[in-house]
């Protein structure tokens, strides 16, 4: 049996409940006001009729939806492949940068140069260089433009993720490595079983954030030619002389990103909570 709270506590509970009801009512009222103002403002604008026709035309939307969806499937596949490879590449580069000793100097220098230059280089330029530069060499067995574009995205994001992983590795206190080594674990074993698991856990939120950014940026592959959602929309726009296909593609990208963003938020919240719990 739960005991009856004191009158003071009952007062407190009643007061808090009153405040909560008030907050909900206030939020509802202000949302209604803002919504009305926006609707009236936009639909009342002099150019609204034209904009509605050329950006939000339902017929055009329905007509090009199948092609755009088909293109989006390519974006999804690219996202999965590029995200996986970029994580592996980033982790590898981050680990290479931690190696000490003169033997590893060239490896370290190369890894550092890579992260510095690729983070500064706009992704569009990397895609152009890969997709149009490499075939220009006329080498035997040059892969398809699609794969070259994917490679461009992977190496660019690999550089970002390498920095994220490195921050994670450096955040693990040296005493953890000392403890692992004192048990007889080799440097590699200490990295693999003690440092990296802790590092990856700590940087999970920024890692997922970069994946959300990556999921948008895979659309840039359309610049190299492959028909993804954006390219399909572009074709639709050219054919129908109407911008609606872009809006359709945009909405689809947002829908695609929502689950990933939700997961990111959840992981970030959980990490913050754990930090506050002091572990």
């Amino acid at each position: 049996m739960s005991r009856t709270p004191s009158t003071r506590q009952q007062e407190r509970i009643a007061y808090r409940r009153g405040r909560a009801v008030r907050s909900v009512l206030l939020a509802a009222a202000s949302t209604a006001v803002v919504g009305t103002v926006l609707t009236v403002g936009i639909t009342g604008a002099p150019g609204w009729e034209r904009v509605k026709e050329s950006f939000f035309d339902p017929e055009t939307a329905v007509e090009y939806l199948p092609e755009i969806l088909q293109g989006l499937w390519l974006n999804v596949k690219l996202l999965v492949i590029c995200a996986t490879l970029a994580m592996v590449l980033g982790l590898l580069i981050a680990v290479l940068r931690t190696l000490r000793g003169p033997v590893f100097f060239p490896v370290r220098a190369m890894a550092t140069t890579y992260t510095y230059s690729l983070r500064g280089l706009p992704l569009i330029i990397v895609i152009y260089l890969f997709a149009f530069g490499i075939p220009g060499l006329r080498l035997q067995g040059t892969p398809d433009v699609l794969w070259l574009g994917a490679a461009a995205i992977t190496v660019t994001y690999g550089a970002y993720l390498a920095e994220v992983f490195r921050a994670g590795i450096e955040s693990v206190h040296p005493s953890q490595i000392a403890a692992a080594r004192s048990l007889g674990l080799s440097y590699r074993q200490a990295m693999r079983h003690v440092v990296l698991p802790q590092a990856v856990r700590r940087v999970a939120p920024p890692l997922l954030n970069d994946t959300v950014a990556l999921q948008k940026d895979v659309g840039l592959i359309s610049l190299a030619g492959p028909v993804d959602a954006i390219r399909a929309a572009q074709i639709g726009v050219a054919q129908s002389a109407d911008f609606t296909p872009y809006v359709v593609a945009g909405v689809l990208f947002v829908l695609l990103a929502l689950p990933l963003i939700a997961v990111t938020d959840w992981v970030t919240l959980r990490a913050a909570r754990r930090q506050n719990a002091g572990s």
Partner: protein, 246 residues
Amino acid sequence: MLLAIDKVRKVFGDHVILDDLSLDVAEHEVVALIGASGSGKSTLLRCVNLLTEVDDGTIHLDGEEITDPRADPDLVRRRIGLVFQSYNLFPHMTVLENIMLAPVRVHRRSSDQARAQAMQWLDRVGLAEKAGAYPDRLSGGQQQRAAIVRALVNSPRLLLLDEVTSALDPELVGEVLTMIRELKSDGMTMVLATHEMGFAKQVADRVAFLDGGRVLEQGPPEQVLGDPVEPRTRQFLARIIEAGRL
């Protein structure tokens, strides 16, 4: 001699921490290192465990020189257990996983075998029901006992303990001391750095006072702690008594 430290020197910058320090430890012997903060106790233990490289001198373990640059440090460390003041358990592993890590990864035992051995130890030190818990759910004393077990499952020839009680509340110190006393009666060879003179008196066969980078005075606890020869030792002990730690 199980451990022979001979004229070991360690310099950080232009700070001489260990200055031709020599110390021998016989099998089954327990030696307590005492000395002011910064006198080099931790540094000496880290040198023995090869976590820090000596700048001169030699260290022999079972007659084999471990400071030889050709010796494999990983192999040496398997024979020496080291427990830190701050436990340093791995926070992403349960207590059991912490303890099983080295037996499985380093000694290549089967995980069934490693688990059985780990549980036997945990049982013995009263931590069996904490096997599946993560370190942050344990009290300081429980964490420290788990850390000692983690070093013990490697069956080390020598156990190094660096101020294993100084991060603990006084009520928790007792359970760790009991465990160390039991290890002593098992015949474990130990070198322990400590600020607790009472602890040194109870478990050590010999107390070594570090000062100016050397072992200034050593002998049975009653003599070194009760009737020291060197004026520096007297001064140190006087300060400790003032601080109420004897």
